[in-house]
């Protein structure tokens, strides 16, 4: 059995525009307020966790720009937004595998595979380590705990580098080009190796395989540069703004990236819209039901 997945996406005529808080604020006066009434920089510079070094080869380096933390408290909301460091993007390998003779009961639901070891490889990159480029690979094997996720006799596996794939090396490629397909194959070989360290004959078991790149993230998730979200050090401490009735939430706001954290920031924002006495009433109700 060989499946073709995703064919419908190739027919998409229109792609949703990227979006960001700054660009959604239609009124310039609101931006001025978000910038403490200081002149708004029309063209701020983005910061990325991963950059391709400009001075030499195509070596990819991790760079957290040095900034004076003492100034951070003085920064306006707009400056914080404009300069928040974007973490790297993702590389995904989604697999549907024939599970013949695989004993799921002896397997784990989740594996962490270090492609170059826990301490990294200094020959690969001077500052390599656990968070190095495509070093920590997560392999999710969810059928171990939920057999309904694939038809009987098959499993789904998802291997990915979370936030450790640079965008820059993909930036100028067209999705339909040969170069793009080749780069996908080349980069995904690291993910394949991670899967093969658990299921050695994984390639022979393939029913469907899909590779997702930073371009995929950018296109389908509308993420600027395919980013995972803001770097931890640059989260906004809460979603409040100087504009009455506007509250921010999402992965740029504490507690940050990932579904649970983002759901929490959404709930916090919703709570911020509710009168404290209503909160109180709600807590009393939960108490009366012995739920808290």
């Amino acid at each position: 059995m060989k499946l073709t997945i995703g064919a419908q996406y190739h027919d998409l005529k229109t792609v949703s525009k990227m979006w960001s808080i700054r660009e959604l604020m239609g009124n310039k006066k609101s931006l001025d307020l978000m910038n403490n009434l200081l002149p708004v920089n029309p063209n701020p510079t983005s910061r990325q966790s991963w950059q391709v070094a400009k001075n030499e080869s195509s070596r990819i380096v991790a760079k957290r720009p040095i900034c004076d933390e003492s100034d951070a408290m003085e920064e306006s909301l707009l400056t914080k937004i404009d300069t928040a460091e974007m973490t790297g993007s993702f590389l995904h390998l989604h697999l549907a595998l024939d599970a013949k003779d695989l004993d799921l009961d002896t397997m784990e639901a989740h594996y962490t595979v270090m492609a170059r070891g826990l301490s990294g490889d200094i020959n690969y990159e001077e500052n390599d380590g656990p968070c190095g480029e495509l070093n920590m690979i997560a392999v999710s094997n969810p059928c171990v705990i939920d057999r309904t996720l694939a038809p009987e006799g098959y499993i789904v596996v998802h291997a990915y580098g979370a936030g450790n794939e640079p965008y820059d090396i993909w930036a100028n490629l067209t999705r339909t080009s040969k170069d793009y397909k080749e780069l996908k194959e080349k980069r995904a070989s690291i993910l394949w190796k991670a899967v093969e360290s658990i299921i050695p004959d994984a390639r022979e078991r393939v029913v469907a395989d899909l590779v997702g790149s930073p371009i995929t993230h950018e296109r389908f998730l509308r993420r600027p540069k395919g980013t995972y979200g803001a770097a931890t050090e640059d989260y906004l401490k809460d979603g409040s703004t100087p504009i009455e009735g506007l509250v921010l939430c999402g992965d740029g706001i504490f507690p940050g990236i990932g579904v649970p954290a983002v759901a929490y920031s959404g709930a916090s924002a919703a709570n911020a819209m509710v009168d404290p006495f209503k909160h109180w009433k709600c807590l009393d109700y939960l108490k009366s039901k012995e739920l808290i």
Binding site: W19, S30, I81, I145
Partner: protein
């Protein structure tokens, strides 16, 4: 161990169900937001304008989950 049967999609289904419970709120998909609208002085949120031109008035306010990073396209 508590597990979620049916995959991550079930979380989304549950969240949507929660939002739409009681028929007061609705989740609108494929409704691209063009701008967050404010009073002329920029101090208070009024609502949203969608890409198709439709305006939505905010009863309480606007909670925005757009990425903070600028797009630089």
């Amino acid at each position: 161990m508590k597990i979620l049967l049916g995959g991550l999609g079930k979380v989304i289904d549950a969240l949507v169900k929660g939002v739409e419970k009681g028929g007061v709120s609705k989740v609108n998909l494929r409704s691209q937001v063009k701008s967050i609208d404010t009073t002329a002085d920029g101090k208070k949120v009024l609502g949203l304008t969608l890409a198709n031109g439709k305006k939505i008035k905010a009863k309480e306010g606007v909670i925005c989950n757009a990425p903070v990073s600028r797009t630089y396209m």
